[in-house]
Point group: C2
Chain length 89, copies 2
């Protein structure tokens, strides 16, 4: 594991992305998480490449395109993970 | 086109799903649409199988599993489409 890896996220090289699945017991928890993620991305001014969700899960893909993953993308990943209060392991 | 098809949505038989992509010019419009979709599903008590979004698009998949698509899923589709004010064609 390189020192640039963000703990808990799966890093892929081509294209450069960070991926993580968050699971929740109830829709209310999923919804609250999505709202916190929206707040995080508005604060940082950078958004995940894609968010895919159902009632009890949220898959988050962070990618910066050809430019690769920079510190801002890694900070986004850390803050999203911190926002996942109530997620099941 | 059968009389049960919901206008503007792509219906697939196996598994039974309704799919539609909504595009927006700005993230603020995407965000507002997502909030309205959440309100719709809370009102109806039924949720899309999956919602996948980036800053300027939202892909919605409605499915009821093996039970097939019922009137409640078609009503969900119609109300979500009606909530897409500001979507680009």
């Amino acid at each position: 594991m390189s020192d640039t890896t963000v703990e808990g996220w799966t890093e892929q090289a081509r294209p450069p992305t960070l991926f993580r699945r968050f699971s929740f017991e109830r829709y209310a928890d999923t919804r609250a998480f999505l709202d916190r993620v929206a707040a995080v991305q508005e604060t940082l001014g950078v958004a995940p490449h894609n968010i895919s969700f159902g009632t009890t899960y949220v898959n988050v893909t962070i990618g910066a395109g050809d430019a690769g993953l920079g510190e801002i993308e890694r900070e986004l990943a850390r803050r999203i993970a911190a926002a996942a209060t109530g997620a099941t392991p």
